[in-house]
Symmetry: C2
Subunit: 303 residues, 2 copies
């Protein structure tokens, strides 16, 4: 079943201990779409500027991603520059130029309206909520957010959370949103805000899935111990793409489907780190993905 995703399509300049790249294709919606495209049909809503050309388009096209919802605006695309020189787990942001993104008004193409899955990537919760309200017929809605919205836009964020089935955030964000340093208690508090499921991403330590009211269904997926993390940019969005893409490909949302989705999330997150930007995520085969899935199984299963 098709996923509609709303979020950023951007250019990123990235420096890591492995090197440097100028103006790679980036943005949460980009990483999410590419990762999800190995599992199901993906439709993007975003805005780009005049610097978004054929080369960038081709990356989406090669993965069969529907771009009719990518609006072309006058000006430049969202641009981010950051480095991970001291700490591969947390980027240091040098530049954030919103550019055309500053006045983004998501418009949902008619052809997207029958999507059964909706992913609200990390953007202004006011916009996330608007898109969610304009697609009342979706079967499952997942979303992401970040500390900026938690700290400075909490009322809007809390309104948005009421419309989510699944929230995907990291440890720090979970603790900060709940105001509680115990992860289990914080997870429960966050689920009381709306989402019936919560995926807490632990970076190099994997991720935990919580279901409200069903402690017994808590599930922990590992991350792959990687020999070299070339560039962690987009790992979280790629996790979300693998996770939600797999769910959307399933006939039924069983507990077993959620568990496998967690593994596919970790798989896509691990690929994302292996090369700069989208280099690895845009060039995978389903066979490589399933081989890595099996590696994750071996890494965690007793027999």
């Amino acid at each position: 079943m098709a996923i509609t995703v709303v979020g950023s399509v951007a250019f990123d300049s990235i420096e890591t201990p492995a090197g440097k790249r100028e103006r790679c294709l980036g943005g949460a919606a980009t990483y999410f779409s590419l990762a999800a495209s190995y599992f199901t049909d993906v439709r993007v809503i975003a805005v780009v500027g005049e610097d978004f050309g054929r080369r960038q388009e081709a990356v989406f096209q090669a993965r069969g991603i529907d771009m009719r919802g990518i609006e072309r605006a006058k000006g430049k695309s969202f641009f981010w520059e950051g480095s991970y020189l001291g700490n591969l787990n947390e980027a240091k942001t040098h530049v954030t130029d919103l550019n055309v993104f500053a006045s983004f008004e998501p418009k949902i193409p008619e052809a997207y309206r029958d999507s059964e899955f909706l992913f609200l990537a990390n953007i202004d919760p006011v916009l996330q909520r608007r898109v969610r309200e304009e697609m009342p017929g979706v079967k499952l809605v997942a979303g992401d957010t970040m500390n900026y919205w938690i700290n400075d836009h909490k009322p809007a964020l809390l309104e948005m959370l009421k419309g989510l089935d699944i929230l995907l955030i990291n440890d720090t964000e979970t603790r900060s949103l709940a105001g509680n340093s115990n992860l289990i208690q914080a997870a429960r508090a966050v689920m009381a805000m709306g989402p019936s499921s919560l995926v807490v991403k632990h970076g190099e330590y994997g991720a935990t899935l919580f279901h409200s009211g069903e402690a017994s269904r808590t599930f922990r997926a590992p991350a792959l111990p990687l020999e070299e993390v070339v560039d962690p940019t987009g790992a979280g969005d790629s996790f979300a793409g693998g996770f939600f893409g797999y769910l959307a490909s399933q006939p039924e949302l069983t507990p077993a489907a959620y568990r496998k989705a967690m593994f596919y999330g970790s798989v896509m997150g691990s690929f994302a780190c292996e090369r700069f930007g989208t280099e690895r995520t845009q060039n995978l085969t389903r066979e490589e993905i399933d081989q890595r899935f099996n590696l994750f199984r071996e890494l965690t299963h007793l027999d």
Copy 2:
């Protein structure tokens, strides 16, 4: 098969967000022995002072732990005082009084010499090495260390590591010992120093088992997401006790036995955090342990 463990038997005063305890029974060898005692026979080598009385003895006796190697010396037992008020993952040490431990000279009782398993808990690597050399017939030797020895006693530590089969340390210690921030590369460097297996403990995120030359046998065990961490003191030593105790109980050290041992390590580590000091670890049943083992399986297994 019997394990001989050498390490500290101590008194701890502990403050955590859950409360405060004065002079609990503590020490690495204590936690290790109690945890391992659910799986196999355990023999302790340590030194205690005149403050170590009937009540403390009874804790070991109730678990059938051999205390003939616990030397009674004039003076006070090792005493540690610390708190975890800001951060449950790292203790802030307020007082370390070595007392009788300052002149500890481990003596191996004759009755211990047929032990097939040896655990060198975190003490001066010079002493660890001496005990290891005095027990040349053991089948498997595991040990622990800490940043203090890594930073300030590295030559002695490197000598000791040559005699180890399995080293159990945490992420920070692994990275610092190897001088490499990538965990996989650091793990490989540490195994090149001697131990053919390395268990890296990730605190609330579980632990990873590495085997030198066999990347395919890497295994990651989770930690249980706990509703309330009452007191993390001794969690790492309890992990080691569950891990090594289970291995010692097995007829063959197969890859499958190592995997299960990692789970039993996590199980014993999770119990240790549930009450102050050894309160929980000294009062378990094998049935409770195996129930929690199954919980860990559900938490991580796809089906």
